[in-house]
């Protein structure tokens, strides 16, 4: 699994079997622990897939609504994070296809002309380096956003989330052979778009 760099990245706290059993009972402390275990990863995935903070927040609310409703059926023998990533990824796909998303993409914020929510790169100790990192990240995110949906979701799930082709195939509802093809095409298009950033 890749570990994208960034000031905010920290490993999620582990969840014990006892905590997951308490999640099943919707115990508030256990739910809070599940939230801490999952939120930063899921939010990062949503914002990278959607490229927009407001849309990522919409998806997070819906993800946790569904998680709460399904809490009684959670599998206490496994880490729920892959399952939650799958919910988040599918909701991101729904959001991108929704009417609201299409309207939003045509009316970008005048204070944030890129419409990408800013603040994607955390502020580091060196302002100059931060500026360079932020500019580079903005280019990469813009190149990712410009990919067709089927290619974008595969490259984010593979290289940003570190999922393998089989897991991605399960999430996007296609064969792993198709995922491999999409991944290859996505990288080809990204390589072309970013050739002046990483010549």
């Amino acid at each position: 699994m890749q570990d994208p760099s960034g000031s905010s990245r920290r490993p999620p706290p582990d969840l014990s079997r006892e905590t997951l059993l308490a999640v099943r009972r919707r115990d508030p402390e256990a739910l809070a622990a599940l939230f801490e275990h999952s939120f930063d990863r899921l939010y990062g995935l949503a914002q990278r897939m959607l490229g927009d903070r407001a849309a990522a927040e919409d998806v997070m609310q819906e993800t946790y609504l569904r998680m709460h409703r399904a809490a009684a059926t959670i599998d206490v023998e496994r880490d729920p994070l892959p399952w939650l990533k799958s919910i988040t990824a599918n909701l991101c796909r729904d959001h991108r296809r929704s009417f609201a998303a299409k309207v939003a993409s045509r009316s970008e914020d005048v204070d944030d002309p890129a419409g990408r929510g800013g603040n994607l790169a955390g502020v580091g100790p060196d302002p100059e380096e931060h500026t360079l990192t932020a500019a580079r990240e903005a280019r990469v995110q813009a190149a990712v956003d410009a990919l067709p949906e089927q290619l974008r979701e595969v490259v984010i799930l593979k290289d940003y989330e570190g999922l393998d082709h089989v897991a991605i195939a399960g999430i996007v509802g296609t064969s792993h052979a198709a995922v491999r093809k999409r991944y290859s095409r996505a990288l080809e298009q990204l390589g072309e778009a970013l050739k002046d950033v990483w010549p």
Binding site: S5, Y43, M60, E62, A72, A101, I156, D159
Partner: protein, 280 residues
Amino acid sequence: MSDRHDIPLTAAQRRAAEAVQSLSRPEADTDFRARLKADFASGAVAAAKPAAFATRPRPRFGFALWVPLTAAAALAAVMVFGGRLPGPEALGSHIAGTVLVDGRAVAAGDSLRLDELLRPGAEVVLSEGAELDILYPGSFVMRLASGTTITLPDRPRRWFGGDLDAVMPEGEISIRTGPDLAGRMLAVSTPEGRARIYGTLVSIFRNDELTCVCLYEGTAVMDDLEQELGPVPAGKRWVLFADGRDAELLDIAPPHLEHMEGLDRERCDCFGGAHKEQTP
């Protein structure tokens, strides 16, 4: 990471992959994060409506396939389900208060204006002190108590059955079904579960702590979020708790009995019947 399905990458592809891998993990707005955490831990998130983007069905086929399929389905639907029964209509109220229909405020007694605004799928919110009866002629009549929020069901199909769905996040409704609901099912969903109503006099109550479904007579089946709990026996109520405790089957509480009897007494003429007093 190593994946047995990994493919050999060109230098440009590898650099592109590394660029994506190097993206930082964005931080959420701290207020949003804290609010969502509190709502999730307390269960308040469960009372939220599903987001609009998440409620539409996901297309499963490519354009070339779904266009002819959609056209064929639409043609079949027009041929087979070519009409719907009437509803909803406001029967007015004797009580002061305000009703919001899709966000537009109307006095509870202004049945003409309410009739203009009520439509299948409308969200109806009653202020404190308001009470409203809504009729789907021939199919059912429902009484909404003060403080109720409900999304109204669609109009029943004229032929070949078809199920109806209402969503009630909070409040209390009583429902008396009519002859045209035969062969159909009216479902009322709350954050804790769903009552499936087949032909009955029933009340559904929901607050922050529980959902309660009382059956006066007829047939209704209760589901929680995961499974079917079973039928509601006449004179009994299923209570589903928001904190996840096991559901309980209890006797009908007097306030719910009064609400149902009030509807039945005052609206029994809607379907040509007469109210029968019951001693549960």
